[in-house]
């Protein structure tokens, strides 16, 4: 059987599509081998590195992973902790002992610390096979978020919103004067002046839309340069 790759690097493939034929290729996640064929299991972008073929998903709900820093919202206050929404099919539990480095006495009013509706930055510390998730607030950068706005981006696009070594998010922060915290689960917290926040949201939406293309940093720089020249913040509005 001839060893052939049927796709190029950065091609988009659909489930069931054969991407390569031959036993020498190694399928990464999102691809599987059936006899001599390597077949795509998801809608995504192909990444070819020698004999290793990877599939980069471009959509899908966030799947909780241990050690991910996520932005979560408190949805319930319980006897021993809080239940938080981490933007996945599964909610997570924050227990009293993991909430803060202070000592929380038994029977304390937990809403003093976090109440329903609060947004927090926390770390996923455990995911069981039944998808019970535990989070912790103990660690650098983990805190309650106050003020600002929260937007949702697809969790698979988060690496692009962050950029190589944070280059994209830094570019956006510099051009908007905003504080930005990005959760691996796709929730992004933005805090600044309203005009700055709006620009940051628009820039992030643009990154999301163009996540699978190259030259993204240039596109976003271009976006900010144009912003500086015109006052109009939104296109297509009707008066």
């Amino acid at each position: 059987m001839k060893e052939t790759i049927l796709v190029k690097d950065k091609d988009i493939v659909v489930p069931g599509e054969t991407v390569a034929q031959g036993m020498s290729f190694l399928p990464g996640r999102g691809l599987y081998r059936k006899d001599e064929k390597i077949i795509a299991q998801k809608l995504g972008m192909i990444n070819v590195e020698g004999k290793v073929i990877k599939l980069i998903p471009l959509s899908g709900k966030y799947i909780p992973r241990v050690n991910d820093n996520v932005v979560a919202q408190v949805i319930d206050v319980l006897m021993t902790g809080w239940r938080v929404d981490i933007n996945s099919a599964y909610s997570a539990m924050l227990t009293m002992k993991d909430a803060t480095s202070e000592f929380i006495p038994r029977g304390a009013d937990l809403t003093q610390y976090f109440s329903v509706g609060d947004f927090i930055v926390c770390k996923i510390v455990n995911v069981t096979s039944q998808k019970l998730v535990d989070v912790s607030m103990k660690g650098p950068g983990l805190r309650k978020l106050t003020g600002g706005r929260i937007i949702k981006v697809n969790s698979h696009k988060v690496p692009r919103v962050i950029g190589k070594e944070g280059s994209m998010v830094t570019l956006i922060k510099q051009n908007t004067g905003c504080n930005i915290t990005i959760g691996q689960n796709g929730l992004v917290w933005i805090k600044g002046e309203p005009e700055g926040e709006i620009k940051a949201v628009q820039a992030i939406r643009l990154v999301e839309e163009l996540a699978h293309t190259s030259g993204l940093t240039d596109r976003i720089s271009e976006f900010f340069n144009k912003q500086g020249k015109t006052k109009k913040a939104v296109k297509g509005g009707e008066k």
């Binding site: 988009i12 659909v14 709900k61 099919a89």
Partner: protein, 234 residues
């Protein structure tokens, strides 16, 4: 009387014009529109997500839940009162069986993947259009699938075997056999098969081969729609 010329002058193995688009419902996790002739189906996928009530949850796998509905103004003739009917519930069930074989929901215990199929306009072939739309929506939602699913209604009208019956052909007084079929395009396997009417065994085999061929055409449209979503507009 033999059916020798189709009402809309198509060839016997010719599909009506098809169009498809992905990502048409921004709120959904995945969505698609599939149109064949005048039959138009929208599908939206929400999930995997939390499943209530709790007793429906399955600790070893996520479940697939389908809802199929034709809008009140979508049919030929009178307005159809909104709400589930026995027909729509049966279609939901066979749609579920047509799509489940390509999905692996074991990574999502206790959760649900909801698919809502709605048709604003119908002209036969509705459950097939729904399945073709739903398959695209599932892929758009980033779910793991062994293959897409493509569907078409084939059949026998006035003694002639043909593909993609329209409403007039389905209602043909001198005998119409309607056979909705769903196929996994890369393996050729059948995941939906129903039939109303009469047919001989040899004819059935022939018409299923026809369905397979036509599903390949539909698959090309589905693939293109999924990839189109990522074409950059300058």
């Amino acid at each position: 009387m033999a059916y020798t010329k189709r009402f809309d002058s198509r060839k016997f193995d010719e599909l009506r014009p098809i169009s498809a688009k992905v990502g048409v419902i921004p709120n959904a996790d995945g969505s698609a529109m599939f149109k064949i002739g005048k039959t138009t189906a929208y599908a939206a996928v929400y999930g995997p997500r939390d499943l209530h009530p709790k007793f429906l949850q399955n600790p070893s796998t996520g479940i697939l839940r389908i809802s199929y509905n034709m809008m009140p103004f979508s049919g030929h003739g009178e307005r159809v009162r909104p709400g589930a009917s026995r027909r729509s519930r049966e279609i939901a069930m066979v749609t579920q069986n047509a799509l489940l074989p390509v999905l692996d929901l074991t990574p999502y215990p206790n959760s649900v993947v909801d698919i809502f199929i709605e048709l604003p306009q119908t002209d036969a072939g509705t459950r097939c259009a729904g399945i073709s739309a739903a398959a695209m929506a599932l892929a758009d939602a980033g779910l793991e699938m062994k293959d897409l699913v493509s569907a078409v209604a084939v059949g026998r009208v006035g003694g002639t075997l043909l593909a993609d019956l329209n409403y007039e052909e389905e209602a043909y007084k001198e005998g119409s056999t309607d056979i909705p079929v769903a196929i996994l395009p890369n393996s050729g396997k059948v995941t939906l098969l129903q039939m109303d009417g009469f047919i001989k065994q040899e004819e059935l085999k022939k018409v299923l081969e026809l369905a397979k061929k036509k599903c390949e055409e539909i698959y090309e449209v589905q693939k293109k729609a999924l990839k189109e979503k990522f074409k950059v507009q300058k």
